[in-house]
């Protein structure tokens, strides 16, 4: 009797403890390779660091802009943005957050070893007006500075200086620096323990300024453990060893939906999949057409476009997890226009006619380069497209390879036609246009840097420079016209926006984010 009483008491105590500690065990295929907030601009690093560090302006649940470490901001002059900082914010190690830290962090993100240059490319300098006010001075008027600054994390100046981490970790330097494995942010969670590639533990930062706000969750601890094998990651979720999986494989979704205790949260990603085409060489590298380049002919580009049955790819290859598109970016991105998001219809007969009109009545031969581990079902998409093109006479050889060699190949421009995907972290049209469609000869950093097809259109370049400096309606009009040129000129063949389902135990609720970032500050564990 007494033993039973003790047992009951013990059980009660345990359940009380369990109610206190709300741990989320989270898994994804890749591990962040650094904890430095300005060193690596990739999703696997950001997904952990955004739990620890805050930017001046943060993303809301709908990816809008919301006050972060700055409570307000305004463009006081065309080249001067003024940020008012939040009072009483402390870093995890106790330092008070002030304007000095903002100036330091922006300067740090501008260093040559930073991978975040694109977000601060227009910034001339940041100046502390008073301890709670910072002015950011730009070289040219920059209407989308707030969108970009939302990706720059704020660090403590005194902590970084004391630990010799005033520059972002240099990925090619001999020694690692303090920030490779240590953090000191102002965010909702602090880094409690880190074993690279094995385990990263984050603990709730009880003094975070944001916990007072509405809609925050109850997670007290996050344990992140990467599992690279798809089957094992899903097995761990089904067996209850893991609570949240960021990247479940598509072929397992059906099974996960019907499994007990597991739920699947579906949503779009801000990432669009395209085909790029060599349009600048007089003769293609990988084709049997001699003396001319079929892809520089608009009719051939349209023929290839219209030969693709995107609905079949969506239904079969993507198992419904894609949104076919006819434009450059999805609707979350500023500048999106529904009227321009119209595909050329799938029409194999028309494709054949266009090819004949362009002088290829018997089609031609071409090699399609494709990554096989970068985008969702990338190789399968290419297989489907190769089949569809062959049916209209364009005999397609598929060359699929892992992302390492693939990106090396297309960056050498050693390709005739290739599949790739493009995400828009700034959520503004300019980012896509300047990287993908600006002429490569352009002077500015980032101009045409991913324009491996060598597309060049003077009107497009002019519109891109207008997007850089103009504001308001004039800027929206420039984006609109550029989108129209994109649709008419087919510099790239758009396929679809990716969907990114998340899988989790049913007792977890968390808002789905189109930037594929789980914000555990908003997660609730029941």
């Amino acid at each position: 009797m007494r033993i039973r009483l003790f047992a009951a008491l013990a059980a009660l105590c345990l359940s009380a403890v369990a109610a206190e500690a709300r741990t989320v065990r989270w898994s994804a295929s890749g591990d962040p390779n650094t904890m430095d907030p300005h060193s690596q601009n990739v999703g696997t690093v950001t997904m952990v660091l955004q739990q620890i560090y805050d930017p001046l302006i943060q993303r809301s649940r709908t990816l809008g802009l919301a006050p972060g470490l700055a409570v307000s901001w305004e463009q006081v002059e065309p080249t001067r943005w003024r940020f008012r900082l939040r009072e009483g914010v402390r870093f995890h190690e106790g330092q008070t957050f002030t304007a000095e830290d903002v100036v330091f962090s922006i300067d740090r993100a501008k260093q040559p070893t930073s991978n975040f240059g694109i977000y601060v490319d227009t910034i001339e300098s940041a100046v502390a007006v008073d301890p709670m006010t910072v002015d950011v001075i730009t070289r040219v008027p920059d209407p989308i500075l707030p969108n970009k600054i939302a990706s720059v994390f704020m660090m403590s100046r005194s902590w970084s200086e004391a630990n010799g981490a005033t520059r972002p970790q240099n990925t090619r330097q001999r020694e690692e620096i303090h920030t490779t494995r240590n953090t000191n942010g102002t965010g909702a969670f602090r880094l409690a323990n880190r074993e690279p590639d094995v385990r990263t533990v984050l603990a709730r930062h009880a003094d975070w300024w944001g916990w007072r706000e509405e809609g925050t969750g109850n997670v007290t601890e996050i344990v992140f453990r990467p599992i690279s094998s798809d089957a094992t990651r899903i097995a761990a979720l089904l067996s209850g060893e893991v609570d949240f999986v960021l990247d479940p494989p598509l072929q397992d979704l059906q099974r996960l939906r019907s499994a007990q205790g597991v739920s699947v949260l579906e949503g779009p990603e801000v990432r669009t999949i395209f085909l790029g085409m060599d349009q600048f060489r007089p003769e293609l590298l990988y084709s049997d057409v001699r003396g001319r380049n079929p892809l520089s002919d608009l009719r051939v580009r349209r023929a290839l476009y219209q030969a693709i049955d995107i609905q079949a790819i969506q239904r079969v290859t993507m198992r419904g997890q894609s949104m076919p598109t006819g434009t450059l970016f999805p609707e979350q991105v500023n500048g999106y226009a529904r009227e321009e998001d119209v595909r050329l219809p799938f029409d194999a007969a028309r494709a054949r006619a266009l090819l004949a009109e362009a002088g290829y009545p018997n089609g031609f031969e071409i090699t399609l380069d494709c990554p096989n581990n970068r985008y969702i079902n990338d190789e399968q998409i290419c297989q489907a497209i190769a089949g569809m093109w062959s049916r209209v006479g364009v005999r397609t050889r598929l060359n699929a390879m892992p992302l390492g060699p693939f990106f090396a190949k297309i960056q050498r421009e050693d390709t005739s036609i290739y599949l790739f995907g493009w995400g828009v972290p700034t959520l503004d049209a300019l980012y896509s246009f300047q990287s993908l469609l600006a002429s490569r000869a352009g002077g500015q950093q980032g101009d045409g840097i991913w324009n491996y097809g060598g597309y060049s259109n003077a009107r497009m370049d002019a519109l891109i420079s207008r997007m850089r400096t103009e504001t308001g309606d004039a800027r929206q009009a420039a984006i609109r016209e550029a989108l129209n040129i994109f649709r008419e000129d087919v510099p790239l063949i758009p396929l679809h926006h990716q969907m990114i389902p998340w899988a989790m135990r049913s007792n977890i609720s968390i808002p789905h984010m189109a930037n594929n970032q789980p914000y555990f500050r908003w997660a609730v564990v029941n």
Binding site: N41, N115, T171, V198, A231, E241, F407, A408, S435, W450
Partner: protein, 310 residues
């Protein structure tokens, strides 16, 4: 060793471009050129290779492109996990494989023997990753007895980390060790069986029986002992194979060992880690061959006598 180092180095020069992966989405041509020069990738192939060998001889394999940490340190950190796993797999393979081999050799027609043989056929023919996934489905997902991934809690003894001292560490070890050991187990069993059957037909076994020795003395004292030379050879070589091919098992179970490190490095075209790993595996094979040759002397008295007579 030199040959392996040359081949691995040459191969990796072509597998991918670490520069592309390190630069990320946005960069200028000037940044790219600066990085290439900093990494020494603009120098001729043989200059790069000689530098690599020169450093490797001093135990210096450079810095991982992916993790920005010294390669030697990374491998030393991961080695305990792989070695513990390999050791367990080898022990399972020997401890189960040899008795099963002896049994099936002695009682060729018993039902149990047939069962063992069928089992061994499955063990030989199923690929490792499939065995691993099947075990995970049964013991982790369906029954919930054992963890499906990771190494459990580890205890740190100096620079060595061990999973032998905690319950979760031992539980985590079971499935991967079986997965990794099954192929070797069946191989050893079939080898012992064949050798036993061979030896049991020889004259000295018949003489031993004629002398009236007990079955036990004949089977284990005479027959088994004489089968051991080829078994040791194979088992030794297989230990090397277990360490080398732990890659697949480690990937399936997310076991934080050297094999997983290698796979992750391949994904990022992290050449220094890949080259160092291949060199290490070559070294393991060479060392094990040497030990196996030395062990012959301990097991087979004929080799010792032969040396004395000349």
């Amino acid at each position: 060793m030199l040959a392996v180092s040359f081949i691995s180095f040459a191969m990796f020069t072509y597998v991918g471009d670490p520069v592309a992966i390190m630069l990320g989405q946005d960069f200028t041509e000037a940044q790219r050129a600066a990085l290439v020069a900093e990494l020494g990738l603009d120098q001729p192939f043989f200059v790069q290779f000689l530098k690599f060998i020169g450093n490797a001889v001093q135990g210096e394999f450079g810095l991982s492109y992916r993790l920005s940490r010294p390669v030697a340190e990374l491998i030393a950190e991961r080695a305990p996990a792989t070695l513990e796993l390999a050791l367990c797999a080898a022990v399972i393979a020997m401890a189960v494989g040899v008795p099963m081999g002896v049994y099936t050799g002695l009682y060729r027609h018993s039902i149990l023997s047939r069962f063992f043989l069928t089992f061994s056929l499955i063990g030989v023919s199923l690929p490792t990753f499939l065995i691993g996934i099947l075990l995970i489905l049964i013991f982790a997902v369906a029954l919930g007895w054992l963890p499906s991934f990771g190494r459990g809690d580890v205890v740190r003894l100096g620079w060595w980390t061990t999973g032998f001292l905690t319950v979760s560490g031992l539980k985590a070890l079971i499935l991967p060790a079986i997965t990794l050991g099954v192929f070797q187990l069946t191989l050893i069993m079939r080898l012992v069986r064949a050798e036993m059957m061979e030896v049991l037909r020889t004259d000295y076994i018949k003489f031993a029986r004629a002398r009236g020795l007990s079955n036990r003395a004949i089977n284990f004292g005479h027959a088994l002992k004489n089968t051991l030379v080829p078994v040791i050879t194979i088992a030794g070589l297989q230990l090397g194979a277990i360490i080398a091919f732990a890659i697949v098992t480690e990937t399936v179970f997310q076991w934080p060992g050297m094999g997983l490190l290698f796979i992750q490095s391949v994904g990022a075209a992290d050449v220094p880690v890949m080259a160092a790993y291949l060199m290490l595996i070559a070294l393991v094979f060479v060392t094990i061959n040497l030990i196996v040759d030395l062990l012959y002397y301990a097991v087979d008295p004929r080799l010792r006598i032969g040396k004395g007579a000349h």
